[in-house]
Amino acid sequence: MKDAALITPPVLSAYGISKQFAGIEVLSEVDLDLMPGEIHALLGENGAGKSTFAKILAGVHRPTRGTLTLNGQPVEITSPIVAQKLGITLIHQEPISFPDLSVAENLVLGRQDGSALSRVPWADMVREARSLMDLLGVRIEVTHLMRGLSIADQQMVEIARALASDSRVIIMDEPTAPLTPKEVATLFTIARRLRDEGRTIIFISHRLEEVRALCDRVTIFRDGAKVATDTIANLTDADIIRLMIGRPLKEYMHKQGSKIGDVALQVSGLTTPGLFRDISFTVRKGEIVGLGGLVGAGRTDVAKALFGIAPAASGSIAVNGTVAVIADPGDAIALGLAFVPEDRAQAGIFRSLSVEQNITAAVPGKIAPRGVIRRGVEKLLATQSVARLRIRLASLRQPIGELSGGNQQKAILARWLLTEPQVLILDEPTRGIDIGVKAEFYDMIGALAADGRAILLISSELPELLALCDRVLVMSEGRLTADLPRGQATQESIMQAAVPRTERGEAA
């Protein structure tokens, strides 16, 4: 859907861009014009194709079909370097950098011309780096190593890189997830300034409120196709959601009523200096307690302490009334705790091993009561799990790496359900999962609570917390700042408690 006749020509145009991976079409026939001096949002659910499209623009992928034109001339963007030379820069969600080199070097690397043995102009580099930082208005010491910079600062460095190469098109991929509201505000100010200079900012997100606050136009992707492009003012939130998911948003998320019983988990004064301090809360049987907060607030650290991965320095944990010493995950499991970690690729799945082996990994007592594995038992347990959680796979014996993200996550959940836990700690369980499967997860979590289990749900998605939880705890900078019963929990109240102390005074 091309926009109406324009006076200014687009800076970057896509015609019929399609992309296939291993025979599966993830993008089809996308036409899009990007204008100079605009902030353009790409919205869509996971797997909708917005990120793939952006990566094609940035030279990370090559399109299977279709053409791109830059300033009217057809171009082939064959690699990120080529994209950079053409003035298109992608700022990754997790900024890539060389941690052992200085900020100044990181800014300059890849942009110099000259032969391999040419002199490194240290003094010029530092001077240029400093002026870039001043231009952005950020105070980062450019001679320091990149290691140790906060995510927000790393993003700033990436933006500075884009400026240094005079990029006309800057793509930001979900930049706001790890940022505090104040850092988000800084980012938005800079984005607006860049737009006013005539550059084009492509803002990939799934957060409506941010898109509305920042962007001029928005393009919505669904199932690999572009479904709409319009000025943000012309679309209501309901319109956008409908376009994103193809049908009006039902009340997907609701909490089944469940009987709330005795205290299953009691945490008192849990402290690890530097990570979290004086954390005390309870979770009852049948209760879903949410744990909200910004990235870096210390929630996963608390979970790791509860589960014995990184035990706390002081404080006590009691499970079903008895005080417990949890020195390693084995202790935790024996007490009836289970922990589904945040990053399943890093801490969850055994990628090359079979689904069956992945599911039974935490219950040696069941599949090998006397040391020797009983394959029949293993297969039975795995088959039951697959049926119960509706895991879609071709065979139990296939490597789990071949499953989609949602099914992998289900397999991890199945692993923990086999341990028959009394307390289930879930860390961002629906991250990176399509909305259809998300709904399944919400139902499952609700059913688990109804079954009498105590659930601690760590999540950064406010709608998720509000829909599922009986109570919402909020952590900020290592401390517990709020304990909100369902009635009092709103997006504002959670955010208010999540924001760091120094910003709270300024938060509007």
Partner: protein, 331 residues
């Protein structure tokens, strides 16, 4: 959220599985078996001795000590670690044993000293790798130097003789098989069963595939890896003593270059250097393959120098092939 950067999204739900015959046959152990058969065929052309099973068995005794340690090394590599110190461990254990018995210590005690020192060396490796979280490659490079050096300190440039009755274990036959070979075969069966059918073995694979995930799943990663290092130490000590028996004397350079042969056996057997994959069967076959190759070279009158080259080339080729096979079967 965005598509993962690492893997492009494949089918929405799952890709079709590999057919059964693919799983069973397309794997590094098949390659080893094929090479083994080829080796026997080529060898028999070189000399009719090759088809004499007794000749092969006797030839095996020369590498049996390394092969025994290679079995345990396979488990260590599957668990995601590596140990380059076993050959030096063999030397030091043997030197301590020989020196003790020469100093008048009664034999049984001397043997115990040798074995205990081997375990202690394994413990040092384990403590530094697991306790201090240092990479096993650099730690075992350090200990391989240290242990060999200590052996040199104890034995100097001299050989220490061992008593007559202790020598010649390779000449002892049980059911027509030399004892070292028998030990190797039995150990292969035991370790193969442990690795393949027990939870302990399964957990080794888990640790090697993803150590963080293994810990999260309650697997006692530190303990298991420590056990493996201790086992390596013990096996090295036993191998050292067996070598002392075979040679009749002990020098500081006992087993020099052995780490290459052991790693070679593991790699030829299809053990994945990055951990998570490999089998005892593979290493078992590879040990035989290596014996065939070395015997073949000796029979064909190749100089030791050529043999050294061939070993080096074999190592390189075997990892190329193993990596290739694993990257094909892993999507």
């Amino acid at each position: 959220m965005t598509d993962t950067a690492a893997a492009p999204p494949l089918a929405r739900d799952a890709a079709p599985p590999r057919p059964m015959w693919h799983v069973v046959l397309v794997r590094p152990e098949t390659m080893t078996l094929v090479l083994l058969v080829l080796g026997v065929i080529v060898g028999s052309q070189l000399s009719e001795f090759f088809l004499d099973i007794n000749y092969i068995l006797k030839s095996f005794t020369l590498s049996a000590e390394f092969a025994i340690v290679a079995l345990v090394l396979t488990m260590v590599i599957i668990a995601g670690e590596i140990d380059l110190s076993p050959a030096s461990n063999m030397a030091l254990s043997a030197c301590l044993f020989a020196w003790a018995q020469q100093a008048g210590v009664p034999m049984p005690l001397a043997i115990v000293i040798g074995l205990v020192s081997g375990v202690a060396m394994g413990a040092l490796n384990g403590l530094m790798v697991i306790g201090l979280q240092l990479p096993s490659i650099i730690v075992t490079i350090g200990t391989l130097t240290l242990y060999r050096g200590l052996a040199q300190v104890i034995a100097g440039d001299k050989s220490i003789r061992v008593p007559e009755w202790f020598t010649g274990i390779n000449a002892v036959f049980i059911a027509g098989i030399p004892v070292p070979v028998l030990v190797f075969a039995l150990l292969s069966i035991v370790l193969g069963l442990v690795l393949g059918t027990t939870m302990f073995g399964r957990q080794i694979y888990l640790i090697g595939t993803n150590e963080v995930a293994a810990r999260h799943a309650g697997v006692r990663s530190r303990r298991i890896r420590m056990i493996l290092f201790l086992l390596m130490g013990f096996a090295s000590a036993v191998a050292g003593l067996m070598t002392a028996s075979r040679l009749g004397s002990v020098r500081y350079d006992l087993g020099l270059g052995g780490e290459l042969q052991m790693v070679l056996m593991a790699m030829l057997g299809g053990t994945y250097i990055f951990g998570g994959r490999g089998t005892i069967l593979g290493t078992f076959l590879a040990a035989w393959l290596l014996v065939i190759v070395t015997t073949g070279m000796i029979v064909a009158n190749w100089l030791p120098a050529w043999q050294l080259c061939v070993l080096g080339i074999l190592l390189i080729v075997s990892i190329i092939a193993t990596n290739f096979i694993y990257s094909r079967t892993q999507r």
